[in-house]
Every structure is written in structure tokens, then in C-alpha cells.
């Protein structure tokens, strides 16, 4: 997933978090924000690990 899409998703969730009047729904947006941030970290790690395997010269 590209970075601008990631950024868009987090910005939209942040917007919901700030404008939602109901407490339990704000909690949902906060929880979702945390999961999305964790997903983005994991996606970057996985992509780096895959690159590492694909560029392993011992496998060429």
C-alpha cells in the first residue's frame, strides 16, 4: 500500500475521532487508529523482509 493512502486513512480516522460526539464511538476510532498504525509498521517490516530474501545473493 502506498504512503499517501496510509496517510489518508489515518487522517480520516483522526477526523472522525475529533468530530464524533458519542464517547463509545470515539473509543472505536481511537482503537482503529492504533490498529492501523500497527498494520502500517508490520507492512513495512514484511516488505523489508521480503526484499531481504529476494536480494539474497546466495539464492541467485
Amino acid at each position: 500500500m502506498n504512503n499517501s493512502k496510509n496517510q489518508w486513512l489515518l487522517e480520516q480516522i483522526q477526523q472522525q475521532l475529533h468530530t464524533e460526539p458519542q464517547y463509545e464511538k470515539r473509543a472505536f476510532w481511537q482503537g482503529l487508529k492504533t490498529v492501523v498504525e500497527q498494520q502500517q509498521d508490520r507492512i513495512q517490516q514484511l516488505q523489508a523482509e521480503i526484499d531481504g530474501h529476494l536480494w539474497n545473493h546466495e539464492q541467485w
Partner: protein, 224 residues
């Protein structure tokens, strides 16, 4: 999945922690069963509550390294060695609040023992009943939590009560996708787009994990 929350607290109406958690239990339709308002326990009814539930949570503030008296009294009256056979394969969790910070509950800390050690008797109970013991859900110093930490706690608690699979990023993501569909969130074009994009990122994560697994599998085959 039916979850039963058995609450032991001498004054639940004046406990901000318990009032807060009750909101979370309500949101995921868990059954809230408050022990201290009962003068005596109807053993048949109490056992039926357990039989009707797949996940059973004992919830209490830590009092002198154990639960308040009502839970000990309830356990003594309701359980029997023979009845434990009926609890096999059900899940047992503990939601425990403390007045001290997490750092105190470790070797070398003020208390010196982790909650896993202090609450060992409940793990023994689960083992004897052949129940699945869930990782303890600890709430340290609720009154000192920031607004954002409280919002996060409300969601983590709901997941503790209702997420069917073990905790992992994939299972957390699936739980949130499910929540989108089943809770009454405001539905408009933006929230729909957020939901769709989140589903895509969850799928992308899944695809990358599968790809990496295949690459590793391929490397293992090459080595053979």
C-alpha cells in the same frame, strides 16, 4: 459467543473503574453479574449462568493480593469438584484493577511479584476444570489514565470479552472489521470509504504474510 462477567466489588456504584467497564460489557452484549448485591447465592441459578456462557471473566479490584470476599464466598458455594467437569473447554479470564502502577508488579518492584504469580490460584482452578485460561486483563491506576488511554482501554476491554481468537494483529484487525458491521456507527460516504480502505490494508497484510511464508518455504525446499 456468550460472555459472563462476574463482578466482585464492595461498592460498584461508586467505582469509576467498574462503571466504565460496565459500558464496555454492555456494548458487546456480555452478561454483567454483580455478586455483592446478592445476600445469598442460588447455586442452581449461578451454575446455570456458568453453563450458558463460553467465556467467564472474574472481575475485581486487587485486595490484599486476591479478590474481595464476595468472589471467594461465591466460589466456595457454587463450585464443586463434580460440577467442574461441566466447565471443560470454556474460557476463564481475569479483569483485575490495581491502585499501583504496572512497574510495581515485577521482581525488584514495590510488590515484587507479577499479577500472573499473585493470581496463580485462578490458573489452578482453570487447569483443574480443563478450562482455557486467558491472559490476565490488568488495569493499573485507572484514575491516572489519560483520555486517549481510557478510549483505548474501552476497546481493549471489549475485545477481551468478545474476540474469539487469540490476540494477534490479524485477529485484532478482523475484530475491528466485524465491529464496523455490527455496531451502530454513523454510516456515510466517508466512514464507508474508511471501512473499505481498512479492509484493503488488512488484506494486504495477509497477502504479504502469505508471500513471505511461501518464500521461506521455497528456501527450505532449496536447502533439502
Amino acid at each position: 459467543m456468550q460472555t459472563l462477567v462476574i463482578v466482585s466489588h464492595p461498592d460498584v456504584d461508586n467505582s469509576s473503574t467498574q462503571q466504565f467497564l460496565q459500558q464496555g460489557a454492555h456494548l458487546v452484549q456480555a452478561k454483567w453479574h454483580y455478586l455483592d448485591k446478592l445476600e445469598t447465592y442460588n447455586v442452581v441459578q449461578e451454575r446455570q449462568l456458568l453453563l450458558n456462557s463460553q467465556r467467564i471473566i472474574f472481575q475485581f479490584p486487587l485486595y490484599w493480593y486476591t479478590s474481595p470476599a464476595s468472589l471467594a464466598k461465591w466460589l466456595a458455594q457454587v463450585l464443586s469438584t463434580k460440577f467442574l467437569d461441566n466447565l471443560e473447554d470454556k474460557e476463564l479470564g481475569l479483569a483485575v484493577s490495581t491502585g499501583l502502577p504496572a512497574k510495581d508488579f515485577q521482581a525488584g518492584g514495590k510488590i515484587g511479584y507479577h499479577l500472573d504469580q499473585i493470581l496463580t490460584p485462578y490458573q489452578a482452578l482453570a487447569q483443574q476444570a480443563k478450562m482455557i485460561f486467558l491472559p490476565i486483563f490488568a488495569i493499573y491506576q485507572f484514575s491516572y489514565l489519560s483520555e486517549i488511554e481510557r478510549l483505548q482501554l474501552l476497546m481493549d476491554y471489549q475485545r477481551y470479552l468478545s474476540q474469539t481468537k487469540l490476540d494477534s494483529l490479524k485477529n485484532r484487525s478482523d475484530w475491528y472489521l466485524n465491529y464496523f458491521q455490527h455496531q451502530q456507527l454513523t454510516q456515510n460516504q466517508t466512514t464507508q470509504l474508511i471501512q473499505d480502505t481498512f479492509r484493503q490494508t488488512t488484506q494486504e497484510l495477509d497477502n504479504l504474510q502469505t508471500t513471505l511464508k511461501l518464500i521461506k518455504q521455497d528456501e527450505d525446499d532449496t536447502l533439502e
